[in-house]
């Protein structure tokens, strides 16, 4: 937790019934929560539902926030629970890559297979290909198991620290780092497979 939580004044004012302070907190976090929700659900309406649930719960439960973690950590925990509930209710959670595929990426026997061909990075820089690659990567992120997807989004897109991501997910720091590394390798492998498959 940071030494000074920059959200603390707004949290205190919201507790005191100041609606404009709550609005300001919402403005600070709505884009971030939406990105997490859309990244996880891949559906605008589901993402909106999750964002609505998140802020309603934040408002209703703000008196239970004790300040033992950063406010943002507490909020992201609520957001992730809302996202998980939405995924459960729509039964989309089964649509994930088997974990074995991720574990296989760390198999030393496969390291050689993962070696890039020459020109891989140049192709990834090709402006005409970038839109296509973006689609490939979004599909690949969608194929990650939920927990890996959440870790990857919070770390790479929201740029939270590994420790904060671990706190949000209730995982050890070591487990968070391992999952993040596997997710990154998995996504790199998917991109590599596509680029090498399209080699001239």
């Amino acid at each position: 937790m940071p030494a000074v939580d920059l959200d603390a004044p707004l949290v205190n004012q919201t507790r005191g019934g100041d609606a404009s302070a709550f609005e300001e907190l919402m403005r600070r976090y709505e884009e971030k929560v939406y990105r997490l929700a859309i990244g996880m659900t891949k559906n605008r309406e589901d993402a909106l539902d999750a964002v609505q649930d998140t802020f309603l719960n934040v408002y209703r439960k703000i008196d239970t926030f004790k300040g033992e973690s950063a406010f943002s950590t507490w909020l992201y925990k609520i957001a992730l629970n809302s996202v998980y509930m939405k995924l459960r209710s729509r039964s989309r959670h089964g649509r994930t890559e088997p974990l074995e595929d991720l574990e296989g990426i760390l198999d030393p026997a496969k390291v050689r297979i993962l070696m890039p061909s020459r020109g891989w990075t140049e192709k990834a820089d090709d402006a005409l290909l970038r839109k296509e690659l973006s689609g490939i990567l979004r599909e690949a992120v969608d194929a990650l198991p939920e927990e890996y997807r959440a870790i990857f989004t919070l770390r790479e897109v929201e740029e939270l620290s590994n420790q904060q991501v671990a706190d949000i997910l209730g995982l050890s720091l070591a487990a968070t780092k391992t999952r993040l590394h596997r997710a990154r390798l998995f996504l790199r492998q998917r991109l590599s497979r596509y680029l090498q498959g399209n080699a001239a």
């Binding site: 990105r35 990244g39 408002y59 070696m115 992120v141 590994n162 991109l191």
Partner: protein, 86 residues
């Protein structure tokens, strides 16, 4: 990744395992320096690191969505109604 290295230096496999901590700046100074030495002497590992970083930056770009204004309006309207019910 078959370069030979001195036994005190990390192997290609160890570099592979430590890449995330390397790019996140979470290694000790001495380990980071060892990895850097390995990477500058081992073209396959160096190339692997490049593609690892390119993937991260493309992913960030692809997932950086903004919340549409229409959804922000609906969010505020929903919360106003719910909070008034309280």
């Amino acid at each position: 990744m078959s370069h030979e290295h001195r036994s005190s230096e990390p192997t290609c496999r160890e570099v592979f395992d430590l890449l995330s901590e390397f790019v996140d700046g979470e290694l000790t100074d001495s380990l980071r320096e060892s990895l850097s030495r390995h990477l500058s002497a081992c073209p396959p590992c160096e190339e692997f690191l490049k593609t690892f970083q390119v993937t991260r930056s493309l992913c960030r770009e692809s997932l950086m969505e903004t919340m549409p204004d229409e959804l922000k309006v609906r969010l505020r309207s929903f919360l106003r109604i719910q909070i008034q019910k309280k």
